[in-house]
Amino acid sequence: MNIRRIWSNVWPPLLAVILFLFIWQIATSLFQIDKWMLPSPTDISREAAAEGAGLWTHTQATLKLMLLGFSIGTAVGLLVAFTLHYIPFLRKALYPLIILSQNVPIIALAPLLMIWFGFGILPKIIVITLVCFFPIAVAAMDGLSRTDHVMLDYMRMAGASKWDIFIKLEVPYALPAIMSGAKIAATYSVMGAIIAEWIGASKGIGYYMMLQKSSFRTDRIFVAIAIIVTISLAMFLLISLLEKWLIRYHPSER
């Protein structure tokens, strides 16, 4: 894809965001909204600059937690998908439960995890893993089950082993699906990290938000939100680039 094509996709939403911030700015001064209710974009950016160094340590903590959680969540998701794919009985038995498990709000589970596993990194990783593994597992299982049956017949007739079929056909075939799952999981992992930090942490953006909430520093909460959005976008972009690199062939058949 060339620069011009990318730019033509980027400028309309960018313009919308700028317009939105502009209206926000005008509205806060026009209606004289209190700063603790809704700070203006300039207030927020001023506060961000002032908080600089401290914010960076919090951001780093969140990034570390998120990346670790995302990696483990992805690994668990893939493992679950591969296992269920190869053991049809397990798939039948567990797949509905996995779907059902998504109806339990993670925010409700988090306090339990804290009670069971303390305030260390383990319960936080579990929270992120729980939100990440699902989109990966479902996407991977879906991708694996869609494997082109003519290609599969070819591999089987050629006498390919199960392992060969897995590694030379099923995984590459499912890769685009897995990558779409990973994109969703990536944004979820940011959310998971923030929730984990809300429940119990001594650093991180989530912790920072809770701190500011108790002193009604709305402007600083907005700064935190801006950082979260930035991290989410960066993660999404990172996975998209990885996807581009991994799937260099034209995915025309899907």
Binding site: D153, Y154, M157, G159, Y249, H250
Partner: protein, 269 residues
């Protein structure tokens, strides 16, 4: 079928199917697909199957390839019973089914890779074959860069480079337009007359079958039975002039008429 003739044929035949019988069972329904199919592909010969669509030709290939076990009957390769075993034949499916994430070259060497053969030698040989198929500059390209005819040629090369002796071609040209198709037939004929691999091909085209084959099996509509075996009398190498040969035209007319009867049995006009 007479079992004596079968026994005598065993020695010189590469592939032999003995009274293969198969019905697909779904719920309480039973769908008979293969009805006592017996056929022989002699060593180094080109044999075709013609039959109405949906009669069970592809299913027969699946049985030969070991994907589906027949309810009864045997598949013999050089006299050895390989019923239900995989990895003994080389298969060229109806769609090219090249792996989109592999370069054309890596697609062609796939069968050798699976067989655990040295990859370097395979790549060199594949490169040479790509040249002969007019695909030399596409060796490193992904399959989507290839036209339909080129993809089919690549798929055929993948089958040709496989270590297995017997090639199964399932309607290899059916997805191509008429011009490309006759081009491909010509190409296949040349390649085959040089290499003389043992081939069993499914086709819809009577002309194609007559042009390429040493013998043709006519299948009935489902459940497939062997109606006739036609020995194609024309000498090799064959050229396009054959298309105007009166004997060729007569055989074509004859087979086409029989096929029409079979098709109308299924769907009366």
């Amino acid at each position: 079928m007479n079992s004596n003739t079968n026994l005598q044929a065993t020695t010189s035949s590469a592939l032999e199917i003995e009274a293969a019988h198969l019905a697909f069972r779904e719920r309480r329904q039973s769908l008979p697909v293969l009805n006592q199919i017996s056929l022989t592909v002699p060593n180094g010969k080109f044999v075709s199957i013609i039959g109405p669509s949906g009669c069970g030709k592809s299913t027969l290939f699946h049985v030969i390839g070991g994907l589906v076990k027949p309810d009864s009957g045997k598949i013999l390769l050089h006299g050895k019973d390989v019923t239900g075993e995989r990895g003994h034949i080389s298969y060229v499916p109806q769609k090219p089914a090249l792996f989109p994430w592999r370069s054309t070259l890596d697609n062609i060497t796939l069968a050798r890779e699976i067989a655990g053969m040295p990859i370097k030698a395979a790549r060199e040989e594949a490169q040479a074959w790509l040249g002969r198929a007019g695909l030399a500059e596409f060796a490193q390209a992904y399959p989507h860069k290839l036209s339909g005819g080129m993809q089919q040629r690549a798929s055929f090369l993948r089958g040709l480079l496989a270590p297995q002796e017997v090639l199964l071609l399932d309607e290899p040209f059916s997805a191509l337009d008429a011009l490309t198709r006759s081009d491909m037939q010509r190409w296949l004929l040349d390649i085959w007359e040089e290499n003389q691999r043992t081939v069993l091909m499914i086709t819809h085209s009577v002309e194609e079958a007559l042009m390429l084959s040493d013998s043709i099996y006519l299948f009935s509509s489902r459940p497939a039975t062997v109606l006739h075996r036609i020995d194609v009398p024309f000498t090799r190498p064959r050229t396009e002039q054959l298309l105007d040969d009166p004997r060729f035209l007569e055989l074509k007319r004859d087979i086409t008429a029989q096929m029409r009867v079979q098709m109308h049995k299924n769907q009366p006009l």
